[in-house]
Amino acid sequence: MADQRPFSGGGSNVSRRAFLKGSGAAAAATALATGSGVAEAADEKSKLVGPGATPIKLNVNGRERVLPVEPRTTLLEALRYKLNLTGAKPVSVDDSSGASMVIINGKPASANTVFAIACVGKKIQTVESLGGDKPDAVPVAFLHNDAMQCGFCTPGFVVAVRAFLDKNPKATEKQIREGLNSNLCRCGTYANVIMAAVEVVKGGKRG
């Protein structure tokens, strides 16, 4: 495993602080209030959170959710184990597989490379939001074109295709082939994914 070990042992607060300062999560983390209140993206800049679990508020799929997380909890872990949203998958330690892809503030992002606390105040959209009774056109096209085998990579791919087509709604097949290389599929569903994406461009309908 590359590095899901942010703290160099010992567990002292000092190393945690040093870590948070140096990480991308620092800005969000230092913006959070400690204590018993729910942390929001407030402007109390002086206080640190952690090391224990602190409740934070996340906006996931249009709903405000309060959940306790440690500062070192990734968004992926929080989604999966605190909210039971398991569509985003833990496949790689970095974002080289695309399997944990979610949409944060309208942009695709890997949920395993961002801390949950860094997502406070942002709009998080997971693959689950594309399902339900009136599913999005992308998963419907995945179904029609059988763009799945084992299906483990599929939710990440669905999110990637959704995000790509949001940005490039008239993408040609060539652009799809060139632009959708973020995600990995071991079973080899790429040919079907291309067909699915082309179908959506051509006017694939929501379910």
Partner: protein, 734 residues
Amino acid sequence: MAKKYSWPERGTASLIGKPHDRIDGMAKATGVAKYTYDVAPERMLLARVLGCPHAHCKIKSIDLSGAEKVPGVVKAMAMKVEGNEVRWEGDPIAAVAGESEAAVAEGLKAIKVEYEALDIFVKDEDLAAAEAAKRTGKPAKNTQLEKEAPDDADEEKFADEEIARLLKESDVVVEGHYGIDVITHMCLEPHGATCQWDGDKLNAYLSTQNVSGTAGQFATPLGLTAGDVTVICDFIGGGFGSKFQVDNFNVTAAKIAKEVGRPVKLMLDRDIELKTAGCRPSGYINVKIGADKNGVVKVWDSEHWGTFGATLGGVDQGVIPYVFNPKNRRRRAIPIITNASPSRAWRAPNHPQGSAMTQVAYDDIAGKLGLDSYDVFLRNLPTVSNEKQEIYKAEMEIAAKLMDWKAKWHAHGKGPAKGSVVSGLGMAIHTWGGGGQPSNTNITIHPDGAVEATLGSQDLGTGTRTVIALVTAETFGLPLSAVKVNIGSSKYPPSAASGGSVTIASVSESTRRAAQDALRQVNDLVAKKLGVEADTLVAKDGKISVEGDAKKSLSWKDACSLLGMMPLEVKGEFKRRDDQGLSSSQVGGVQMAEVEVDKDTGVVRMRKFVMVQDMGLVINPKTAKSQMYGAAIMGISYALFEQRIMDPTTGVFLNAEIADYKLPRLGDIGEIVVEIYEPDSEYNRGVVGLGEPPVISPGATISNAVCNALGVRVPVLPLTPKRVLDALAKARKV
């Protein structure tokens, strides 16, 4: 009992043979499907293993005390003891369970292990080095010659002389060295389980391609009986042959769960998964082959070697030469043992390597004689080992049309160049078994007309649920949506493990049998009610009616209400593959590739890949084609990109992360064309499995296309840019 088990006559089925969406497709596409990695019972702990950092060593001591002091860590458990020998990097030493990923990672870091270094050998491609290091085993030999040795002759000497004579008399001799490196399974869902105790009974959510066969594997090391264990796997994120067994880390998860009184999820980290949980053996060959001026091979003489890793073995000699079986052949297979994880079955064990070590040599004959590779393959068809020459011939014609082979063909290395870019064509053929294995299905018909099919199968990605639903619905004349399929539990009637491409044939057999038997019982009740003979009844369009007299009928619902208060449950059993003929085995397949190679950079680009495949009767062409697309892509992967890279001195697996282990992306696959070949002769054989066959030939096919483009053989797969450039440089020097 149904009078005779059979499939619908060709052209008469309502559902079978038509393309259908997967019944669990939306669940997979929207994240609703729960895989082993997703199951999270209340109060569950997360666990990981510590892999050994050395490829060969002895454990001097293990100290777990630091781990359990880490906040959030609940339990650390050793998996090796003092004095144990470790024979590959990544072999699990200990496990840590805790409240969060980070706590567990910290806990693993706090474990102290002392090792004593032992000698390391990982150079499987270097036969002389393996022999010098005493890492080779007893060679397997097999010689067959047209001419028999005289009674008093020394057989080896006779074979030497005979082969030398045959080579001398050949119009052309190719002497080649070829090979294919170790690759890993890289299941995107890593190996692992979530273990939850219910008193003394264990529920194991296991990522497995063997739902019915793994309860006992948990039970024995835990001192239980198989009945005390329920293995559950509703969805599995890839297996490819690596997930048949319960591993020691799965048992460790169960042990920790028992000790701490909480459920435990232990999934392998990616690097450990790559280092210890499945790989494909390598194969390297030196071969001499003699042919006549038409390219028909008369004599084959080879020696090949390779490794299973830490257990002694290599590619079986039975697949050399592959599919082609010239009358005179001698092969020697030398197994090598290395300090690397033992291999596991990898989609079509032995065959991709056999193909990649054989059919490139056949193609080199075409190159040497300046012949069209298509003609060389065609002329050698009379020697195929599986009596499928007519099938291959027909498939070759279809593939050639789809590829526009005749128009695009040029002799090896003689095509036009666009700057530094040259293009080429290649082909290869393959074979596989894929017959059904023992399987049982329970069909339940409820008095309200609801139908369930229940069996201990699993969906490796083949669309198993959908196939079972199709067979059931077809039999009862119902729409696909009317059938509920229950798979994924060891408490269901035992069905085959998903290996050897047997799943679809197995579940189709047992389900069709159960459904035909159940229908017979419903028909008996309907016949009584309508005052007709049961034999005259057919189930179609949601009704059971007298054939040819639609007025005499009952709706399915009304028919089922005749069951009274209790549901009807009928078990279908399938024991042997040949006793009724609903399934069969043995397929052929032909593949062709068109590539572009940049001679300046060594980069190979796929342009077009064509595969034509027979597979008996096809239940759902949509999911069948997906397997073919997938096989083409997996084949492109191991032909061009994938390899396990080991440091020769330390035995460290250098590229054991997804970012480093190169797999193709969506932009790397080119155009893929798949065609199912299903003439009456094949349809009438019944269902044959498909998972493996189409992944066999891509290595040889793509290698041959690259050779055709360059006029130079890049001998060992994958054909990385460096290897392409090296082969070109070597050819320039010669």
